[in-house]
Subunit: 119 residues, 2 copies
DNA sequence: CAGGATCCTTTACGATACTG
DNA sequence: CAGTATCGTAAAGGATCCTG
């Protein structure tokens, strides 16, 4: 009667690896974590602001990464009727579900830095 | 006397972004999360086992990624005196500090999958 | 301001073959 | 078995110019 243990260890492992693959595919590229981290603390930001905050990124790359994330509903793009036009980017509610990941990454980076200093 | 508030909001933000940068630099490349996830659940593994488990990776890439991570002390390489020689890879204690990140990534991937199914 | 178009350079990645 | 060598492609990245 213990038929549910068909879900064996091997399967759980495979699923876990598949899950990592899935997530990383969506967050692939050099800049996505970086952009998400910036948007998470900056609220709504314009293209130019992002270009300034995400140091080192070229407009071409920023544009491409934002499009990727828009497709995956992680960020929201809003055109404002100003003159000249401005565009606001913000994290969606769905995108916010990534914040535990970003938080852990930031946390690790911080302790990494301090472990470098204490040598 | 409140001189410590020199650490203002802007600085905290910059540090956070820098921390994300640091972490992602160490975990850069297409395969590191994947390999780490595998090693975390597999314990000590041989090169060939990894090649099999990390589906799709080429030996060259596996070798390179493992070397990167060895330099950063995330994984441990042990040569065994067998015939023919075998090599065991395992996560270091330091590497294990990355597990909250990997866990969050796996968790997100799993709920991402199930949200796809419920459409 | 927001970004697309173009061109060019440099890495990253992949497939296959080979060696101690 | 555990890799390295070699070669080729694709993507990343940078610089500059252009347009609605």
């Amino acid at each position: 009667m213990k038929k549910q243990s068909v879900v064996n260890n091997t399967n759980i492992c495979k699923n876990r690896i598949q899950a990592i693959k899935d997530t990383m595919e969506i967050l692939s590229g050099k800049w996505k974590f970086h952009i998400l981290g910036t948007l998470m603390q900056g609220g709504s930001m314009r293209f130019m602001d992002l270009l300034r905050e995400v140091e080192g990124i070229a407009p071409k790359m920023l544009s491409k990464e934002l499009q990727d994330m828009e497709v995956n509903q992680l960020v929201n793009r809003t055109v404002c009727n100003t003159k000249p036009i401005t565009v606001e980017y913000a994290i969606t509610e769905y995108g916010k579900t990534l914040s535990p990941i970003i938080d852990e990454i930031a946390k690790w980076g911080i302790s990494y830095r301090s472990s470098l200093l204490n040598k």
